[in-house]
Amino acid sequence: MEEKKDVQEEVKEEVKEEKASTKPKKEKKKCQCDENLKKIEELQNALLRMQADNINYRKRKDEEVERMLKYANEEIVKDILPIVDNFERAIKLDDDNLDDELSKFLEGFKMIYCHLVESLEKYGVKAIDGDNKEFDPVYHQAVLTEKGEKPGMVIEVMQKGYLLKDKVIRPAMVKVSE
């Protein structure tokens, strides 16, 4: 009987011990679980941010492609503009007498010039207005200044400026009054 009791006690104690040892184990598990949940939440948030970033990125790329297409002709137009300038310089040589040799010769120039300008206009190339307008540094580049009646006006356009659709691809070089 004594012995049995002893054994029972022992068993009880063992059970107790076991109980004691499972408690921190459970806590550990709970801890692990909390940590995992936190990790999952973090990852979910990161994923959401990623997805939002991705959508924004795609939007920006779409806009960029749109812009690139819109102004795709910019470089070639920029290279053609000096040719237009030269045609204009040649045509300016003409005087009021339209029957002389020079005028007859320039007649052809004028036709080619008009054709060229028309073609450029078809692609959205427009000349910037200048003469007698208020100087606007967005469209005009001041290269000279001169005393004038009213300051801040464009007195002379020295080289025409051009827009491609709404973008200034070459500001007009102008003389400004001061």
């Binding site: 924004n56 990125y57 920006r60 100087f135 001041a142 000279l144 200044t145 973008k167």
Partner: protein
């Protein structure tokens, strides 16, 4: 989480970029250009930055350019009837770049990394940081320009330690640096250059040569004709680029 932008605050031109899709991407300004002239102008109480400021430079004495040369000094510039510190002027340029980035990203930008020449001393670096602060940017780091260039070329991803030479020829300055790269650590071994020599001087040499040759051949002095000189300048710059 807001994005951090990278800014090259140059003497003649500045540039802003952002890291996206695994690489640094240069952001075009509203005019569609990848660089913005580092020029600030005051007109009728308005502050103009960039191309428009440059376009009206000769008509407006309240136009400031090459402010970078004064960074870290006590010198002030007068404009608009007021005195401005180099930091304040630089902040206006940074503010404009910040706006460019915000328009592109569609969100507020508050953090930036700004590059400075390797030879910049502590005062100049601090001044650059201050400029960022004034512009509403928390400057996360100031990086040496040659280091940024080396990073852009992916030179930090090699195994062995190597020495490289970075050659930076800008519009108005010329810098050369020797870096040592190993284990992703960059060390500027030496830096030198000429801050009065740049691409503009190359243009000038070409212009002078062409004007000289033209005079020899035709007996006409183009240097007296401002319009002709302007055309010559454009052509010279183009010839250099080609």
């Amino acid at each position: 989480m807001s994005k951090t932008i990278g800014i090259d605050l140059g003497t003649t031109n500045s540039c802003v970029c952002v890291y996206e899709g695994g690489e640094a991407k240069v952001i075009a300004n509203p005019e569609g250009n990848r660089t913005t002239p580092s020029v600030v102008a005051f007109k009728n109480g308005e502050i103009i930055v960039g191309t428009a400021a440059k376009n009206q430079m000769i008509t407006n004495p309240d136009t400031i350019s090459s402010i970078k040369r004064l960074m870290g000094t006590k010198e002030k510039v007068k404009a608009n009837g007021k005195e401005y510190t180099p930091e304040e002027i630089s902040a206006m340029i940074l503010g404009d770049l910040k706006k460019t980035a915000e328009a592109y990203l569609g969100e507020k930008v508050t953090k930036a990394v700004i590059t400075v020449p390797a030879y910049f001393n502590d005062a100049q670096r601090q001044a650059t940081k201050n400029a960022g602060k004034i512009a509403g940017l928390e400057v996360e780091r100031i990086i040496n320009e040659p280091t940024a260039a080396a990073l852009a070329y992916g030179l930090d991803k090699q195994d062995k330690t190597e020495q490289i030479l970075v050659y930076d020829l800008g519009g108005g300055t010329f810098d050369v640096s020797i870096l040592e790269i190993g284990d992703g650590v960059f060390e500027v071994k030496s830096t030198s250059g000429n801050n009065k020599l740049g691409g503009d001087d190359f243009d000038q040499r070409i212009i002078d040569y062409l004007a000289d040759e033209f005079k020899k051949e035709n007996g006409i002095d183009l240097t007296k004709d401002k319009m002709a000189m302007q055309r010559l300048k454009d052509a010279a710059e183009k010839a250099k680029k080609d």
